[in-house]
Symmetry: C2
Subunit: 180 residues, 2 copies
């Protein structure tokens, strides 16, 4: 049983938008705030929602590394965030499990790269591909301290240079600051 995680983009919310833009494919309407919660808001410009779910690619030894540095949201001082909704291509989803794993980790080192940033960047992967009519496959969410934003930028540069990113069809990025 999954709990909903909902992002309402609009005129109010618990995160202020510093900047937003389309990295690949269509963007999202510009908004001043994003409200991160558990319910839709009929007054929002757009609403994106999904659920946390089980690990899809991580193996047992990689899971040990992740479990040793749990990704805790709302850490003191972590007043910056990024919401990056992404959609992968039909070619990605048509691959067998071992073929996707080979691109994601053997060729792209996605889990290994991410592991280097666990202490600076808290992450949450929100799944929406299996929701009827969802416009994105994943809503990726990151929180960090303002002084760690350069490290987060570095993480994005590394990931976007991987073979895995060749399977990204749509990507939108919003940088956020915790609303007072």
């Amino acid at each position: 049983m999954a709990d909903a995680i909902v992002f309402n983009g609009g005129a109010r919310g618990n995160w202020k938008v510093l900047r937003q833009g389309a990295i690949k494919g269509a963007g999202l309407g510009n908004v001043a705030f994003v409200d991160r919660g558990t319910k839709g808001d009929a007054g929002a410009s757009w609403t994106l929602s999904g659920v946390t779910s089980n690990l899809r690619y991580t193996n047992a030894s990689e899971k040990k590394v992740l479990d040793a540095t749990p990704s805790v949201l709302a850490r003191p001082g972590a007043t910056r965030a990024a919401l990056i909704p992404i959609t992968k291509s039909a070619a990605w989803w048509a691959m067998a499990q071992d073929e996707r794993r080979a691109v994601l980790e053997d060729k792209s080192r996605h889990i290994a790269i991410g592991s280097d940033y666990l202490s600076a960047v808290s992450r949450q992967l929100v799944h929406c591909r299996d929701q009827v009519g969802a416009p994105f496959d994943f809503l990726t969410w990151f929180e960090f301290k303002p002084e760690d934003e350069a490290r987060f930028d570095e993480l994005l540069v590394k990931l976007r240079a991987t073979p895995e990113w060749g399977f990204i069809d749509r990507e939108v990025e919003l940088r956020l600051e915790k609303a007072a």
Copy 2:
């Protein structure tokens, strides 16, 4: 983007219930018919829905076997069906990907066993674990000719005897006949 597959249990539908029962955990209210379609029916006794999705465990060589015998629904003469909603345990979902694959295939031969029945039994795996509030993880659907029902029974006996089935928390079975 996923399309919904919806099962409405009630007084009408395109499949007549021959028998139904709980295999493990709570059952579903008894109904005379199941309607398999794409939309909920407010008049139904219960409604279960989900989506088809990408392969989760199948590797490239196993996928070749599956692709060589595509599972086609509504085949001529396939007038019997089974709807078996299942939920796996928290222990299952807490495992890493390689640990789940080890139980599913290395120890339980789930994919290999299923492959032996591809010609007799058409299958569709409907995912609902990542839908908010869904009571089951999967709605498994099978179609076969009346003369192949004994083979389908055999398939169920084999799968239910596997280590993987130790991770099933809830399982309900409905046997169906195509409504005239």
